[in-house]
Homo-oligomer: 140 residues x 4
């Protein structure tokens, strides 16, 4: 996990605006060891009972890992999710943004495995944990 | 897996319209052994390259298993996803609906485990496979 | 999933005896659509309470998928497990063999994904369900 | 994750010797935030190519999480694995012990979710990562 960054936060924000205009969350940090995303929560993300929907958390975690991977291998690469496992841990707060902190467990030549910790902004308990694999094109 | 149905297709459609108005897919079949959902695909579900986004598949699978569980335990129960594992298998077609066939592997008193096969309508290859656990309130 | 068999049951038994002498279970069937293994259970596999240990089930499922993969790609290939998810469903019987039926969900050029159903011999309820990915060398 | 320890390392070693005599590894540390196990590797754990077998890693991770859970809820409880997901990351060394560091992601009333990092002793790269759920009897 010693490889340096190929995209910083500003490069990532520009890339997402062009390639994933549907992503409306924020890229808070892109560091060598992790990327941190922030997803504001509104009515469309809520489920009955006033909690954030599971698919909202899944989609955010998927983008967060994608960002963490691209920050290492650069914007030209096409990373495809091959497996994705989420454990739901605590009920998210309906009145706070969800934060997703993604880090890589292994950066292989063809497979990259990472994990994501999701939590309500300002809280310490995790609302969910993700581990997932992405297939990436061979690096030159 | 011998328990009979507590909600049929029509009851399920009505329930979802009331409780999950945000779900815009169709409930095609609710049988004793499985439930089948159909999700029409439009521009909002696509990723660059003309494929259906992973979160679209995840969200559909989550609803499909929810339907399969409620068909067995009835509409009053609150089922909460505790873990969810998806493997992406083949690229979905952008011009076809996604079908999700959900069946239960175990219907326990507190935990229900099920799997979902996702495929493009009219195709035989799976685009994704899901296995997930739901926590349900104790049945009386 | 239309590819034919490259190893039949007898070829598989011989291969395992040479390459995996530590595997002491039986290869019951090797078919185009699935492989079936049978693991006799003795005291060394049991946990307090008279149930089969989780690691016994995991190890059996891992071999069963390995057999299902090799039956398709042949004995020369080196298949490596990359991810493995097991859900424990029902308590296995201590006095019966465990059967593992493995089938492939996708046979890709580099990644093969499969699932395994585990059950006590003669029973219909599953004791566990596995889905896993194997990395295989590129086929020529 | 603020609950204190109900079993320290010495209590855990005694408990395992009585209840799980088949476990031959070592309990190196039992701390409030994690438990660390050490599994010496011998010929019986190896696979062709001189690597530690996947089932060896799975079995060790399962015990490590079991220890981490019992350290929090005490020796009387019966914890049962309900799901278990492992990602294999790097080839373990055949000539070193495997270390398993287990920590809890959530300690619920009925479900406990934890993760395990596995690595060859003295190395920094992970050989595998596990996330798993255990069902525990309700605490009084």
């Amino acid at each position: 996990m010693t490889s340096s960054l190929k995209m910083n936060r500003q490069a990532m924000v520009s890339f997402l605006q062009t390639e994933f205009p549907q992503y409306v969350g924020e890229v808070s940090e892109v560091e060598a060891n992790y990327s941190l995303l922030r997803q504001p929560i509104n009515e469309t993300h809520l489920r009955p009972g006033g909690t954030v929907s599971g698919p909202t958390l899944m989609a955010l975690a998927d983008v967060a890992l994608y960002v963490a991977i691209l920050s290492k291998i650069g914007p030209v690469a096409l990373a495809v999710t091959t497996d994705f496992t989420i454990h739901f841990l605590n009920k998210p707060r309906a009145d706070r943004a969800i934060m997703a902190k993604a880090s890589l467990l292994k950066q292989g030549k063809r497979l990259v495995i990472g994990e994501v910790e999701l939590y309500s902004e300002g809280e310490t308990d995790l609302v969910a944990h993700v581990v997932a694999t992405y297939s990436v094109p061979p690096l030159k």
